[in-house]
Assembly symmetry: C2
Homo-oligomer: 222 residues x 2
């Protein structure tokens, strides 16, 4: 998706509210394909030719919907992240305790991320792609990271309030340790081309979660 | 550095052994600048124009030395990785114990990586850049990862042989946990734009290292 090859007039993309239902579906289809291409090839490497092939559309058909490559990349990131978060939070409503909930989040990442959007974790990929070059896209990644961190933090805070978890742990630092360990294992998985590193990290992270729990004997002492 | 814009005849790059000392210095200068550009902008985003500006050379002056963008990217990665490893292993010869050595490696990464080559950890960046698109470059990253993992593993094995560390720990899994935690923290540091996540991970990783050590009381029991 090279901005140099955008047709003139692309700044006049049709606004979302003026699209027909069919136009909206086309727009969504473009975003879904763009998400796969950007997550594998990056913002600079994602080629318009590939997107045209994947969608069966012409250049005009793509840029009717987006003001340029930047807007398309942002929409693609939003799409991929929404899908990633849905998978990372799947089944949480069935968890009875905070400990179960955190373990579920960890397991969801380990077993689900590579099935979400091809190319690995969209947060990691977009960070590396954008951190030195695209502050606007990096700002979106930062919001995404904060959303994920906050989901973990809230679970810890709720557990602390209910007495399940000890109050001495910093929920924010704890959330970052979990996310950092998962993302680091994902990186090694991408390097090695197998999931060993991801699977290895599950047991130590579960143990870390268990270390939050106030054990019954300790609770009695209070 | 767009391969499309390479001048014809670039496949006949001057072999290294035929370069004059001045030619070698020029080659090294190109590689050093290319490493900075690729580590910040990626393989696809790194522009020839930027490299020309940084080196003050013309296209012919660059491609006299490299068969194409691929070779330049590989040499740039090797250069950046060598520099990264030198920093990660700095001062190890002064460490008296395996525990000190591992702590030093961890501290070196936390405090030194962002000073090595602009753009963050070259291993992470090149993985994300190459994993879906450039198997040859990814193979180089895999060797680099193995070199780092092996440096940590050897320290653990030596500690196990000397009796400093317990024999129940898998050196390979342990090395991957350390590397994963460091890289994940580096990712969060890139997202947040500050070093908090990197600094936060030092104490838990030091504690993890200490958990390897056979305490004197335990040793006496054996």
């Amino acid at each position: 998706v090279e901005s140099e090859t955008q047709p003139p007039g692309c700044k006049d993309a049709v606004p979302l509210h003026k699209l027909t239902p069919r136009g909206r579906r086309t727009r969504e289809r473009i975003i879904e394909h763009a998400a796969k291409i950007f997550n594998q090839r990056g913002f600079e490497g994602g080629a318009l030719s590939e997107l045209l092939k994947a969608t069966g559309l012409g250049k005009g058909g793509i840029y009717r919907h987006f003001s340029g490559k930047e807007e398309l990349a942002e929409e693609a990131f939003r799409f991929a992240w929404k899908r990633a978060m849905a998978r990372r939070n799947a089944g949480l409503e069935e968890c009875a305790t905070g400990e179960e909930r955190l373990r579920k989040m960890i397991g969801n990442f380990i077993h689900g991320t590579l099935l979400t959007v091809p190319g690995g974790c969209v947060m990691m990929n977009t960070t590396i792609d954008a951190d030195d070059t695209n502050p606007h896209l990096l700002a979106l990644v930062r919001l995404a990271f904060q959303e994920w961190q906050s989901a973990i933090e809230k679970t810890i805070v709720a557990g602390q309030q209910s007495g399940e978890f000890g109050g001495e742990h910093d929920p924010s630092v704890f959330a970052r340790r979990i996310i950092g360990s998962l993302e680091g294992a994902m990186l090694i998985t991408r390097i090695e081309g197998n999931r060993a590193a991801l699977h290895e990290v599950q047991e130590p992270l579960n143990a870390l979660v268990s270390s939050l729990v106030v054990r019954k004997s300790a609770r009695r002492e209070i």
